[in-house]
């Protein structure tokens, strides 16, 4: 196996003139930076949005829920296309951004963050909303009766009892952002140091017949994803053991 691949590398890598790189560290750190930014932004947006979804009695709430869930079922290229159009040089958003910063939004890291936030939104909001909903409503009533405001109740009761949802949301958002491809390609393109993430890098390497590099990069993504999911599942399990519902 190894022999076969190195043979390939020697052959095709050399023939295409592509420098054989096993790991593109620039793409790695860019991906981490993207995942951290998107996760942080999504926690800030996701907490109030999930709270609203969990506790609002608005009759058209289901439409908002469906909208938030869209990225799960849409092909990333569809989402990417619309984000591209919405942020592009001809859109009001794109023009406003350009006039403010002198930079375009599309094919930049910022544009990538915006696209990724939309793409990973359900992975943050849904676990949070689900765990907010599962907090016993009598605890919320008890808090209100004791004179504590809804805002304070959120920080003192709802969020501490939703730690598993918070961990799930964080890990899933992070892992999902690390692994995205379609939206990144549509909105960011493939600019080293600005928008080339690991998944794009893998695609590139395969295009260049650098299978060893693609394999190493892919393995890194698998390991990270597996580690994150392990954290989620182990944490959920131990949490329920430590804190049985009284």
């Amino acid at each position: 196996m190894d022999e076969h691949r190195s043979c390939d590398n020697a052959q095709y890598g050399a023939r295409s003139g592509y420098t054989v790189v096993l790991m593109d560290w620039q793409a790695f750190w860019l991906t981490i930076r993207l995942a951290v930014s998107v996760t942080a932004i999504l926690l800030v947006i996701g907490l109030p949005l999930a709270y609203w979804i969990a506790f609002s009695h608005w009759r058209w709430k289901f439409l908002v829920e469906a909208l938030v869930g869209l990225p799960i079922v849409l092909p990333p290229t569809v989402l990417g296309l619309y984000v591209l159009i919405a942020l592009g040089q001809r859109s009001p958003i794109g023009r406003l951004w350009q006039s403010l910063t002198g930079q375009p939004l599309v094919f930049t890291f910022t544009g990538l963050v915006i696209g990724s936030v939309l793409y990973s939104l359900p992975f943050a909001v849904q676990p949070l909303a689900a765990s907010f909903t599962s907090v016993d409503s009598r605890l919320l009533a008890a808090s209100a009766v004791l004179g504590v405001s809804k805002h304070r109740t959120f920080w003192r009761v709802i969020l501490p009892l939703s730690v598993s949802g918070l961990v799930t949301a964080t890990a899933l958002t992070f892992a999902h952002t690390m692994g995205e491809f379609g939206v990144v390609l549509m909105v960011g393109g493939n600019i080293p140091g600005a928008t080339r993430t690991l998944s794009i890098d893998i695609y590139d390497q395969v295009q260049n017949l650098n299978y060893a590099g693609a394999n190493t990069t892919a393995l890194v993504l698998v390991v990270i994803a597996f580690a994150l999911l392990s954290v989620v599942y182990s944490f959920n399990r131990s949490l329920w053991r430590v804190l049985p519902r009284a």
Binding site: D136, A141, S143, A246
Partner: protein, 382 residues
Amino acid sequence: MVTSTDNLVESAPSTAEGVEVRIRKRQSEAFDLDLACQLGRGITIIFGASGAGKTTLLDCIAGLTSPDSGRVVVAGRTLFDSDRGINLPVQARRIGYVFQDLALFPHLSVEENVGYGLSGLDPRERSHRARTALDSLGILSLIQRRPAQLSGGERQRVALARALVTEPSILLLDEPLAALDLPVRMKIAEDLRRSIQDLPIPALYVTHSRDEVFVLGERMIVIEGGKLIAQGTPHEVLSAPRGETVAQLAGFENIFDAQVSSVHEERGTMTCRIGSARFEASQVEIETPLVNASVGTQLRVGISAGDVLLATSAPVGLSARNIFAGKLVSLWQRDMIVVAQVDCGVEMFVHLTLAARDSLQLQPGREVWLIVKTHSCHLLAV
């Protein structure tokens, strides 16, 4: 039935420390909560079957749900008034509420649970108040524990401490002992009564357990199908002239005043002289299970009409210790049950099957014997 207005006037509290409730709330096509009452300080039992509207009543007072119309005034403060458009938010009502499942915060320690409602105070003052409240209920040693590490009785006391520490103007308790086993429940009910009976605020205690009524109650109201159907002392309400629903709710068709006349500790029994309102000076004595009482103690004895046997000749060779000779006064049928009213020195009601009535050829005036097992006599505190 004791819905009489004199009773209402008699117990009418000064509104400065009492509670006045007049609410109407449509729950479903078939069910309206519609009642008015005025209650003073001390414990008032709110008694009724499941689904009678008891919890909804408490939730309306607490503001967790809003009545369609009416008025709720606690300690002279209007919490809700549909005519004047007043509906104070829950947070502003100063309510102490002990929920059915207690609703302790599972992620907080006992101290944090009790101090939870004092978030406006600085931490040292909060801790001091929480500790004082826990100390007064004798559970200061539990301060670092989580609710999951407490026994049912301890949890119950923590919930009470949490409700009282905020100095509420009314205390609402929704079947706080429902989750406990009966023996523990009676002990804790007694503790609970001692903790809350001297509070300067009204305490509304919802239950459908007749045992709790007698341990806790000074006053009670009975709710059925969303309506207030009786009001008064537990004795008045439960021994009221055959308020059938009340009697059924209470589970005892026969309730007697009783006085312990002798105690047989070695046999685990006592003998009590019983009487009822109509047969003041009866000489009827009944053997009951032993409780912690001495000769001369006033008690009440409850006997379910279904637990009494009726014989048409003097029974011999029975294990049952209580056999009363009497005369059948009247008989009537209710659904598939025949109710026999027997005068045996006290008035006693017996439930029979239709077949038993027919095969015994029972007629009013017939001489009968009533048989009651010792352990069918339930002792109720006065």
